[in-house]
Symmetry: C2
Subunit: 268 residues, 2 copies
């Protein structure tokens, strides 16, 4: 690829330092184009915007030229075609907070943007870090930039590994000479979700949704990043069909009961 176009996006919005880290990481590899949401769109999953018009505005954030939009991370994959003829690679993040477990992956805007890119055939890599603030992210920026550059450079030279749609990379909150990268399967659940009920000054009830961590199982992405404090590389394939691996489960009776119910509404 001759000066390839590298889309840089995220779900934390244009003011997140994660964009600058990814920009620095990929700058030596091609032409980075930053497009990000004007406000944070965490937990937007692969949501796209069909019911309202999308805007795209050129802005300068701390010396970094980028495009700001009212759309979601997934919208950005399609908005990118107005900025560049062709996107060669899409990188998303670096998310403030790790995106581990299927539960979190399915609702993550960071991974959502990468998945949306993968669906239209663009090699896509999502980056997240197990930090809880912009400051904590900046403290490990050099390590993450180096790691991200290694991944993107590899994918640009060799292509995405076979059978993989999205590479999700989760960095730990601190690094040492012993920090290693390893493949880690996404756990199924990360949080038990709870509701915190409160009462507003006018006497109305409202609720905060919050998660409490479950104990992670060794070998999973949650464990590798948060317990071992290593770098988890999780290869994702975008297929939810249940019959992929095993023989068809026997759905015959259920299927037949539907057909019978419909037919019973017509006169014999």
């Amino acid at each position: 690829m001759d000066n390839p176009n590298i889309l840089v996006t995220n779900d934390d919005g244009i003011y997140s330092p994660g964009l600058k880290i990814l920009f620095d990481a990929v700058k030596p590899l091609g032409n980075p184009i930053i497009i990000a949401p004007e406000t944070p769109k965490s937990s937007s999953g692969l949501g796209i915007t069909l019911h309202k018009p999308l805007r795209l505005e050129e802005v300068n954030v701390n010396g970094l030229r980028m495009w700001s939009t009212n759309g979601t991370p997934s919208d950005i994959i399609y908005l990118a075609q107005r900025i560049a003829n062709k996107i060669d690679v899409a990188v998303s993040g670096v998310n403030i907070g790790d995106n581990t477990s299927i539960q979190v992956i399915l609702s993550s805007g960071t991974i959502g943007a990468a998945a949306q890119a993968a669906l239209i055939g663009v090699p896509a890599i999502a980056f997240s870090a197990a930090v809880s603030s912009a400051g904590e992210l900046e403290a490990v920026a050099d390590f993450i930039a180096a790691g991200a550059r290694a991944v993107v450079s590899h994918v640009m030279r060799r292509g995405m590994p076979k059978g993989i749609d999205v590479l999700s990379i989760n960095f730990p909150r601190e690094f040492s000479p012993n920090t290693v990268a390893k493949t880690a399967e996404a756990a199924r659940l990360r949080y038990e979700q709870y509701l915190d009920e409160r009462v507003d000054p006018r006497g109305g009830k409202y609720y905060w949704l919050y998660g409490e961590q479950k104990n992670p199982r060794p070998g999973t992405d949650v464990y590798v990043v948060n317990v071992e404090r290593n770098i988890a590389v999780t290869p994702l394939y975008l297929d939810l069909n249940a019959n992929k691996c095993n023989a068809h489960d026997d759905l015959h009776d259920l299927i037949n009961s539907i057909t019978t119910a419909i037919r019973s509404l017509f006169p014999p």
Copy 2:
């Protein structure tokens, strides 16, 4: 189950006739509890709301008692615990518009709600119809109610078929004595996405995101519902790990390049 609690939700909001169709379908089977978004939340995927408080208000819509919330379909799965001690089955829909293909499934709020329920172990079924308006949905309400009741009744008696997290049922836009239900694998892509660029009265550019249908492959959910006009039953399993079916893809070089990049930042 003794008078089981059946959560009825959707992503089209409290005014969609789809809620009434599902309510009628499951009323003979247990205790339906309707909780739905106060405004349409189409394409919200599995997005959950962490950054703002959630509200829950009892309302009466066309004689139907239900709960209205500012949250997403996925939030509703957790809000439900404030209305009922335990949810035994969750049904979502009937969505105005079919939810076929992985592309659409991953961003669908209807399926998102069902997937969120499945993640916490609740049997979950999503219902959608290949119609384009509330009126078109109401015209086939009896058929859909009969089909939905057959599915829910089956799952309540026999449990979810093994290895399946979510059953996604897509109904056609019209029914005949020859209409049958069949298993259909989710296609990967349904739409090519495009941007329509326009200019507002003040001279500012804005964009509409829209999809153009790709030619569906026989046997897929898109084909069964939209070409054959039959009922597609698509069993989903919530796992995106790429290494599920085949041997690990060789990620060794990529993994090693990350570890090497990190190590190079420490003095020898």
